[in-house]
Symmetry: C2
Subunit: 293 residues, 2 copies
Amino acid sequence: MTGPRIGVFDSGMGGLTVLRALMPRIAGAEYTYLGDTARLPYGSKSKATIERYAVSSARFLLSEGADVLVIACNTASALALDAIREVSAVPVLGVIDPGAQRAASTSRSGEVAVIATAATIESHAYAEACSKRGLRAIEKACPLLVPLVEEGWIEHPVTAKVLRIYLDELDTQAGAAGLKPDTLVLGCTHYPLLRTLIQGMVQGHMTVIDSAEAMAVKVSAAVDEKWLQSEAAVRGELIIQAGGSDEQAGEPDEDEEVSCRFFATDSVDKFRRLGSMFLGQPIDEVALVDLGG
Amino acid sequence: MTGPRIGVFDSGMGGLTVLRALMPRIAGAEYTYLGDTARLPYGSKSKATIERYAVSSARFLLSEGADVLVIACNTASALALDAIREVSAVPVLGVIDPGAQRAASTSRSGEVAVIATAATIESHAYAEACSKRGLRAIEKACPLLVPLVEEGWIEHPVTAKVLRIYLDELDTQAGAAGLKPDTLVLGCTHYPLLRTLIQGMVQGHMTVIDSAEAMAVKVSAAVDEKWLQSEAAVRGELIIQAGGSDEQAGEPDEDEEVSCRFFATDSVDKFRRLGSMFLGQPIDEVALVDLGG
């Protein structure tokens, strides 16, 4: 049988950091990535608009034959996961929950901090997911980080200054709430590109967690489980699933190649050019898709 | 007869700076403003996408009965003016040409600089409009200025630092091209909010020109002309139009009230809240409109 067909969705190119973390983990997978670049950013828009955009994007990936939908976009995961699940017959995995789960297994104090887009923060999706795991979370919107990354100012004094301001405000906010977070969740797929800078600033008092990485582990576990079940069904065998920690799942099989198809709703040239920065390898072909609007 | 019905279009709220400049100029006008906030920003997107968005927005304003369309968005004016004119039976005025005209009447050296979004700069619409008037123009994209204004960092050290970097790069670019611009055109409706900061930095060697202001003068002249003609037609009189400079047009008549209706394609609350900053007065009511997508 062929490998799992995994649909990965993001408002733009940030979700390529999730794809990058996924690729070495799932043997023989066929990835279809959609970046809704004509309507980005989602992070500054309303729930109703984000739901409408995310649902039409998800429908496209379903029409391309996805066996599982990976919502790599934090904003869409925070605000549109239920709406996407309503139209999807296949499993839909969001990025918030894996991030919160990883935070819970990392934090010793039970107090964590989350930085993300305005829409993600205003939804309080991370705070709720953390609270379900007995964590207290302090949340901080950082609207300028996405434009700074997209300007290519990755290790730039202005980006360092902006981060310093946001992290100081986060500190003040945490102090006012009587919290001392020991874990910092990067709640936006653009932020892993600033990881070195961020890590340098919080070193000694917070461990940095990348939701993209946490999600890749989660997705490969879910896909493994589904695939073992399907193969068992094909062979008429019964598979007893091991519980295990999420860290053990998804060991890559280097013999099986993965394939990737890329779709964007705006300029394919720009996607090819900038996307390589997020994916960490060249992107050859991108197809334009019109989702209306 | 009722006053002219003026449709003002922008991708977001920046065009409110044009409306602000227009309001005291045209007696008895009825304004309809549309901000395509669900699909903003236009400045980072492709010509095909910008045309599609701008045309559907223009159609909405036409369906609301506009007698003239004012394209307050620099990016839409630079990339979609022809496409909008194709679907419009009423006059369509863009913001690029008035900006270039004002630059021509201001510059002594015949060499000017333009700062704008990436899409506006890549279109070279300003350079072409300047060239038609015998000016040589140097153009510089400043992608971070819009997000900085939207973060509310108007007189902020980070914004000053970013501006310093962009203006230094502009200087280097001008030097390499053998130009010494004496005039700086603000080619984006967000930039007038940074005028004080910009003016402080270029004082002594460049005069700052605001396209929004230049456009308001142009629109009021065009509307006056059209209205004088219509009124003449109604009264069966012949009006001889004075040539005059564009600076003389559109003296306000304080007895006649102007009315404004506001439409947005995304969150009306956000439009009300942030829009007031651009308009310089409170916005009470905003209606949501769905243009698809």
